[in-house]
Symmetry: C2
DNA sequence: CGCGGAATTGACTATCATCAAAGTTTGTGG
DNA sequence: CCACAAACTTTGATGATAGTCAATTCCGCG
């Protein structure tokens, strides 16, 4: 399949090493971004589509008065860069060391067959956005946070530390978001995120640390139940 | 263009008359739905794409405990029915007398060129979902309601009652949502919607009535400013 | 005219935001 | 390897916005 294929040019930026970088992409160019670097900004002229090769990207919207909302978190394989009137409504930021494949939209659109691939991708993203709307509109802080943890557990969690007794296995995962960013994604203040995480820890549902960003899910079914 | 074309079969349901019904669509079938009738339900097997020909459709998600969130409001021209794992995550409901064109996905996908049309549509819907995420995550009740009013003003508002003095023209519009539905879309209780609408009325920014669902925007710039 | 759903308004409550003050990690440079 | 600064996290006290419960009024339709 032309869209998911082949070799490409590579440029490194920030502190990424080349071996962290490109898988491959036919019609595009791979670029590496360091933590918190912008890939494009609100208002920039559009014209490219982007795919996350590795790492994680957040799309954020800023209001004039400084209010901030992360509207999407993208992981490996996800497409982004859809624009409506030729310019981006959102800023895309690498959440960690990240490699992105950049493809010129006009090149892509010359290949009809790719259209449906993109449509399926965007369909999935719409569904995810709708889930998030349910969370922000109707769920409380604990439910929102459990839902976010599950998202990372599904997409990047590993299950190494199996219990000998056959009990539920802890899931260790690394959340590449600060408390403030979690709040900006979940529509909460960073303090509420902290307090809610602490409460889940007290309940024995999760463990925090040892490093910043590390979370261990101790009771997956409890997290599921609380995510609603 | 094959996708936006041609003649089709028509079925009428509820109280819709035939002349309210179909424009045309090549690969699909037009159906008419009465107020509050479901087009498909959460959990139904997917396999079709739908386009609003006239009227308005809401997509809703229900939680087991009864909490409800309207995640999208679709007007004429909008596509819906994207599913991830072969079944719908959402229920689609006609907000008023509505005609929908139903197209089999496998038929559509035989035409490569249509893929990009769908992709552009879904791209627009993603942007709209992201705006709504900003609203639910970071905006207060007044801002959310002003944003919703602007959405209807842009898409269906007419500007008939021009001021003789050349002042700002009132915009009369009909919102096909009850207060409760507005709340379910905006992540608010129906009482908060009521109170906020009343406050905007007291401020002289809008007028309400004479019928249920009627709203007149008296000061468009004020609504814009408050929408953020 | 009268019934039922929708809208409005009031009183009280709860969740979450804000302000503030420590305490931890992380990364850098000597 | 240690020290220090900056960024991030945690916890507490207080307040504001919006939710819930309830009573009344209004509109739409038979």
């Amino acid at each position: 399949m032309a869209f998911y294929g082949n070799q490409a040019e590579v440029r490194t930026e920030a502190k990424l090493r080349v071996q962290d970088a490109p898988r491959e992409c036919h019609v595009g160019v791979c670029r590496a971004y360091g933590k918190r670097h912008a890939i494009f900004r609100q208002g920039d002229k559009a014209g490219h589509l982007y795919r996350v090769e590795s790492g994680a990207v957040a799309l954020e919207i800023l209001l004039e008065d400084g209010r901030r909302q992360l509207v999407e978190i993208l992981l490996a394989g996800d497409l982004f860069g859809f624009a409506v009137d030729g310019s981006f409504e959102e800023t895309a930021i690498a959440l960690e060391a990240t490699v992105v494949c950049v493809m010129r939209q006009c090149d892509l659109e010359r290949t009809d067959a790719v259209g449906w691939e993109v449509a399926h991708q965007t369909g999935r993203q719409i569904t995810r956005a709708h889930d998030q709307l349910m969370a922000l509109g109707r769920k409380n802080a604990q439910e929102r946070i459990c839902q976010l943890l599950l998202r990372f557990a599904r997409d990047i969690g590993d299950r190494p530390c199996a219990e000998p007794g056959g009990g539920p296995e802890p899931i260790r995962l690394h959340v590449p978001l600060t408390r403030g960013e979690m709040g900006d994604y979940l529509g909460l203040s960073l303090e509420t995120v902290c307090r809610t995480m602490s409460a889940l820890k007290q309940l024995g549902v999760i463990a925090i640390g040892p490093r910043q960003g590390d979370v261990t899910i101790l009771a997956l079914d409890e997290v599921r139940r609380r995510a609603g």
